[in-house]
């Protein structure tokens, strides 16, 4: 009896919380909820609401109100539509290239390489994450410039790069986001028990058949997880296009150049990548991949 009394006296907060489960829950979630609602959602909402506001044609001042003019421009201006499609194309290309690189690399690292080589490769993949984003962009700009490394190295065999353009943007974005695909894919392949490979080969399947029938189905959730990163990060990027794209415009370029000139158009445009990602997630959910993540 006396011990319980003692306990109450020394831990008043704990004993209060243990009786009041609601207070406990609020205490647990207060900070994250404040963050998500107060900062995350509110700021996004305040930006998106501007999409419906007016711009005074005389002074370019923005006035609150309700008009669908910005969305009208979005869907009727050929340049805007072309830019949206180009951005979607770039994001899809980046994702596909990342998958094509990540799967064989992951199989090798997880199942073939010695632990020393595996560790070396893991460091090599994550190494770019240590450098700043802008540093990597400038590096890509330097090596792909007209008198840069690649044109110099490939000149003897008569190959000349395309100059700053869409292919270089795709390469740059692949370079930037590859670790986000490679790591989950590698982890997923590592978790496949080795006896599945043995069983597959006992049943007569060769290497590619094993990859197709055993490995791929098991790592689809990891690929989806990685592609959410590569796809959505590519959709939102604009500095890669600005530094390595030459005249290439992406959705981000239009948002960036309109954020001061015409905020409603910028806000309306920021809904485009959001809707692309939502559609992507809905499709991924339909295929059942999200449940297995």
């Amino acid at each position: 009896m006396s011990t319980i009394k003692n306990y109450k006296a020394t831990r008043p907060v704990s004993s209060y919380l243990i009786k009041h489960s609601r207070v406990r829950l609020v205490g647990l979630l207060a900070l994250p909820i404040l963050w998500i609602v107060g900062v995350y959602i509110l700021s996004l909402f305040l930006l998106l609401i501007t999409a419906f506001w007016f711009v005074d044609p005389f002074t370019s001042l923005v006035r609150p109100g309700f008009t669908l003019e910005s969305f009208n421009l979005l869907f009727t201006t050929p340049a805007y539509i072309a830019t949206s499609i180009r951005t979607l194309f770039i994001a899809i290309c980046v994702t596909i290239i990342c998958i094509l690189f990540a799967v064989p690399l992951g199989i090798y690292m997880a199942k073939v390489a010695s632990s020393r080589v595996r560790n070396l490769l893991a460091v090599a993949i994550t190494l770019p994450l240590w450098a700043g984003y802008l540093v990597k962009l400038i590096a890509m700009r330097l090596v792909f410039s007209e008198q840069g490394f690649f044109n110099w190295a490939l000149a003897p065999i008569g190959i000349k790069g395309p100059g700053f353009s869409v292919p270089i943007v795709i390469l740059t974005l692949t370079y930037l986001w590859f670790p986000y695909m490679a790591l989950p894919v590698f982890t997923a392949i590592r978790q496949i028990p080795s006896n599945l490979f043995d069983a597959s080969s006992d049943l007569g399947a060769k290497g590619f058949m094993t990859i197709y029938r055993i490995v791929l189905p098991l790592i689809v959730p990891a690929i989806i997880a990685g592609s959410v990163f590569t796809f959505s990060l590519s959709l939102g990027d604009y500095l890669a296009a600005r530094f390595t794209g030459g005249k290439t415009q992406m959705i981000g370029s239009i948002i960036a150049s309109n954020i001061n000139l015409n905020p409603p158009i910028a806000a309306a445009f920021s809904m485009v990548p959001i809707s692309f990602v939502v559609i992507y997630l809905v499709v991924a959910r339909r295929t059942g991949s999200l449940e297995r993540m």
Binding site: S60, P78, A79, Y80, G163, N260
Partner: protein, 387 residues
């Protein structure tokens, strides 16, 4: 060949005729602006001054003395583009801005800045370059709104190793048969539409463009279709100055719009600039005082201080532009060399330059029978150019 050269020569002669009288005369145009009272007499200094400025305009080298003299503590905020300057000034948190003409007129018609009492700025004197006084971008209905700081031209920069001499015309950046396809750069902002208009003014006189900032719908459409043509041959649009310099030195760009200071930064003998026969656009910067300022006396003291020959010259040398106060040129051999390099005293040179001016619905060329396209329309049109 000879005939061609002669032809070019006569073109040059004609162009000189056309572009003389280029500086827009503000007295003939009446523009509707909010009625904001002018400051009547100087009072006590408020103790602080919040400035929106281009990088390099406000440095301790000259603000320290200003603060010591007046007690006004200088708080600068650097802006990267004219549009950012306008946005910042509209917050009402800043007292004064170093606006280029494309921002200035927008701020004036928006009622964001106040008319100035030049009697309170004794250093605004005969030493200010005549070409920087009374221009439409900062003088509206004969009321001055701006005190000039400095100016620079948008020149044609070229890689001499490739072009073998200065291109005589801007056609190398506009026409589909250019030898430099894919190696052309252009300034990435809606105000660049005016550069297309300058080219059209010279080559398509039937469009009737009299001022590249006063375009009716038909003229704007013509400029936009020229820009769309350029989009097929362009390599890059630049807004980041270091990316532009890198493009020229790295060989990705051979010809394109540039500033004298960027050529200096490129620091290569084969990178040169020229002013082609069509003339060009340029940026003329002035101090504008917010209509909501609480530090108006400090603002007037600042404008007077920075209009002094030595301070104005220090700003111009630091940024890399022609100073507004040309008395600076005579202060030393170094100053004279700077003035010569940036054509500071060469009014004939600047007569061929159209100062950036915000396009507004009132035609700034004085036409009354048509409505001109506003900056908002330029912005929307510009977005369609780059696709």
């Amino acid at each position: 060949m000879k005939a061609k050269k002669l032809g070019r020569f006569s073109l040059l002669a004609v162009s000189l005729l056309i572009v003389s009288g280029c500086s827009s005369d503000s007295s003939s145009v009446s523009i509707e602006v909010p009625d904001i009272p002018m400051h009547q007499e100087l009072g006590a200094f408020e103790g602080e001054l919040n400035i929106v400025n281009w990088s390099g305009f406000v440095e301790p080298a000259w603000t320290d003395k200003f603060t010591a003299d007046t007690g006004c503590k200088v708080k600068p905020r650097v802006a990267g583009t004219s549009d950012e300057m306008v946005t910042l000034m509209r917050t009402g948190q800043y007292d004064i801005v170093s606006a280029s003409g494309d921002a200035a007129l927008r701020l004036i018609v928006g009622g964001d800045v106040q008319p100035l009492n030049l009697d309170l700025i004794p250093n605004f004197s005969d030493d200010i370059a005549p070409g920087m006084k009374g221009n439409i971008y900062d003088t509206v209905n004969n009321k001055p709104y701006g005190v000039p700081i400095g100016r620079g031209a948008n020149l044609l920069q070229y890689n001499d190793d490739v072009t073998k001499g200065a291109p005589p015309s801007w056609d190398v950046v506009w026409e589909l048969d250019t030898p430099y396809k894919g190696k052309i750069t252009a300034y990435d902002a809606p105000i660049y539409i005016a550069d297309a208009a300058v080219y059209l003014m010279y080559h398509n006189p039937e469009l009737g463009i009299k001022n590249p900032y006063a375009l009716d719908q038909k003229q704007l459409d013509a400029a936009i279709s020229l820009l769309k043509q350029q989009n097929q041959i362009i390599g890059e649009y630049w807004s980041d100055v270091f990316a532009q310099i890198g493009s020229f030195t790295g060989g990705n760009t051979v010809v394109g719009t540039s500033w004298e200071i960027l050529r200096k930064f490129a620091a290569k003998d084969n990178i040169k600039t020229t002013l082609p026969i069509e003339g060009s656009t340029g940026w003329f910067d002035s101090w504008l005082v917010s209509s909501k300022t609480k530090n108006v006396n400090c603002a007037y003291a600042w404008m007077d201080y920075t209009s002094k020959a030595d301070v104005n010259g220090a700003i111009a040398m630091n940024f890399g532009m022609a100073p507004a106060n040309i008395a600076f040129c005579k202060t030393s051999a170094k100053a004279q060399a700077h003035c010569d390099e940036y054509f500071a005293e060469d009014e004939e040179f600047f007569k061929r330059i159209w100062p950036w001016t915000t396009p507004i619905e009132t035609c700034v060329d004085g036409r009354k029978d048509v409505k001109c396209t506003s900056f908002q329309e330029w912005t929307n049109a510009w977005a369609t150019v780059k696709g």
